[in-house]
C-alpha cells in the first residue's frame, strides 16, 4: 500500500479545492456519493474528510453536508510602537471607522497570582493581584478575551479605582500616573500559540475539536523605575487575526507617504491600557 486509501482520496479532494474546482463555501458530494465514486467504504470516506477537516480545509455540518471552508479575512492587530505612541500620532488611515470594537464592562477579581503572572510582575507566587477582565467584540462578534493584572500594592498606595468594576475613562495608564506618579515607559509583548481551552471554544464559537489555536499575547508594562506595573493577557483565535509590528520609519498602510516617525521617548499616553492593541481590517 503506497499511500493509504483515505489519504489518496483526501489528496484528490484537496487538489480539487486548491485548483478552485471546489470554491470556498461549496458543498462537497455526500459520503454516499463519494462511496461509489471512489469505490471505498463509508468509513474510509469519513477518514479522508476528517483528515481535511483537521487541517481546516473543509467543515462538516450534520444534516447538511460537507463544505469547503471559507477563509476568514484576518483582523490586523497592531503590536509595538505605532500603537501606543499616542493616538494623535497615528495616521488616521490605520484606524478605519467601519469595524467597531466594543468592550464589556470589566469584571474585577482579587486573586492570588499564578506562576506565570507572578513571574511577569516579579512578585512571589501567590501574592495578591487585581485582575480586570473584559470581553471584546468587533461588530458584535467575539474577538478577544483580555485580562489585566495589577499588583495589589498599587491599590494599597491609593489607586483604589482599580477595584471598581467599570471602565476607567482616562485609561489606567493615565490614572496611575495622576494618582501615584507611576509612569509607563515601555512594555514587552510576548506572543505564543497554544490550543484553545473549553472557555475559549465556547466564547469564540470555535470548532469543538480544538484544532483552531489561540494566540496569547502577554503585555508586560514597566514604569519609570523599571518595575513591571501591569500584565495584560489577550487571547485571539489564531485563524482570523494577524499581528503587525512596525519598527523605525514605515510608510502608513494607506497611500500617502507620512513623515518618518520622530523618535520621541515613548510615553504612556493614549488608550494603551484599555485596549492593548488597536486594530485595523485589511484588504
Amino acid at each position: 500500500m503506497a499511500r493509504p486509501l483515505y489519504r489518496q482520496i483526501a489528496d484528490d479532494l484537496r487538489g480539487q479545492i486548491e485548483a478552485g474546482q471546489l470554491p470556498p463555501g461549496a458543498r462537497l458530494a455526500t459520503e454516499d456519493e463519494f462511496r461509489t465514486r471512489y469505490n471505498a467504504s463509508r468509513n474510509t470516506i469519513r477518514d479522508a474528510i476528517k483528515w481535511l477537516a483537521v487541517q481546516g480545509l473543509v467543515e462538516t455540518r450534520p444534516g447538511q453536508g460537507t463544505f469547503v471552508a471559507v477563509k476568514l479575512e484576518p483582523v490586523v492587530v497592531n503590536l509595538g510602537a505605532a500603537v501606543d505612541n499616542g493616538a494623535a500620532a497615528l495616521p488616521i488611515a490605520e484606524v478605519p471607522a467601519s469595524p467597531r470594537m466594543e468592550s464589556s464592562i470589566p469584571s474585577v477579581e482579587i486573586q492570588s497570582a499564578a506562576a506565570p503572572v507572578a513571574a511577569e510582575l516579579r512578585l512571589p507566587e501567590g501574592e495578591t493581584v487585581v485582575s480586570r477582565h473584559q470581553r471584546q467584540f468587533i461588530d458584535s462578534t467575539p474577538w478577544s478575551l483580555q485580562t489585566t493584572f495589577y499588583p495589589m500594592d498599587l491599590v494599597r498606595r491609593g489607586a483604589s479605582r482599580l477595584l471598581a468594576a467599570e471602565v476607567i475613562a482616562e485609561g489606567t495608564v493615565q490614572y496611575l500616573r495622576d494618582t501615584l506618579n507611576v509612569t509607563q515607559v515601555g512594555w514587552r509583548d510576548k506572543l505564543t500559540i497554544r490550543p484553545a481551552d473549553a472557555n475559549e471554544i465556547a466564547f469564540f464559537s470555535l470548532p469543538p475539536d480544538g484544532r483552531v489555536g489561540i494566540a496569547e499575547v502577554f503585555r508586560t508594562a514597566y514604569d519609570q523605575a523599571g518595575a513591571p506595573m501591569r500584565l495584560t493577557v489577550s487571547v485571539f483565535p489564531a485563524d482570523r487575526n494577524s499581528f503587525v509590528i512596525s519598527t523605525g520609519a514605515v510608510p502608513g498602510l494607506a497611500l500617502e507617504s507620512p513623515a518618518p516617525r520622530s523618535p520621541d521617548p515613548v510615553g504612556g499616553q493614549g488608550p494603551a491600557d484599555r485596549t492593548p492593541a488597536i486594530f485595523a481590517l485589511e484588504r
Copy 2:
C-alpha cells in the same frame, strides 16, 4: 446520549493528564487495555485518543503505544526594535551562547512575483524578483525556513551579488547601502498563523495530519525613500516558538537594569538581513 462515549473517555483521560497522574512522556494503556477498562469497542477508544491527539495532548507511535505529549520549550523570537537596533546595543543576556543557530547556504532563484510578494514590494504582479532561500537550524534541529525577495531592479542597478548563491558576509542591508546608497530605515512585521503545507511538515518533522500550525512572519523593509526594498518571509512551527516585541524602555531579560534605550534613529546596521530574528531560549 448526553455526551458521546468517546468524548467521555477522552475527558476522563484528559483529566488524568491535567491532574498529573499521567505526566508528560508517560505511556498510556494500550487500546486493548482501554477496551476492557471502559467497556467500549476498539474504534471508540481510538476515537477518544484521536480527539486528544488533534488537541496535541497525546501522540501515538505505531508499534509502541500512546504517550502524553511533552510540551516543547519555546524558542523566543525577537521582533521589533530590540533586534535590529544594532547588535552592539543588545544586552548580552539576550543572546545566550548555548543554542547555536546555523543557516544553510542560500539558494537563489529568479522568480515572477506572486500576488502577496508583489503587494508587499509594491510591484505589478508577475514582475521579476530575486528570491534567496535559507533553512535555519538550532543545534542541528530544523527551526525555520526563510525566503527573502528583492526587486530585480536592485540587481539591474548594480547589486549583482544578490544573485550569488552564497552568504553576503557584511549583510545585505550593509551591501545595498554601500553599493546603491539604498538605506534601510524601518520595517514592518506581519505575523499570521496558518496550516502547515507538505514541505513544512517534512522539513520540521511535524505530525503529518497538519494539526501543528505555522507562524509566518512577513518582514517588509523600507528604504529612505519610503519604498519597500525587500520582503523576508520566515516560517516557524507555532508549537515551539514565542515572539516578543519590546517597545520603549524595557528592562532586559536578565537581572541587571539596563539604561533606558536611547531613541536613536534606527539604521540598517546589524545582521538584520541575514536573520530576521535574533533568538533566545527561555526558562
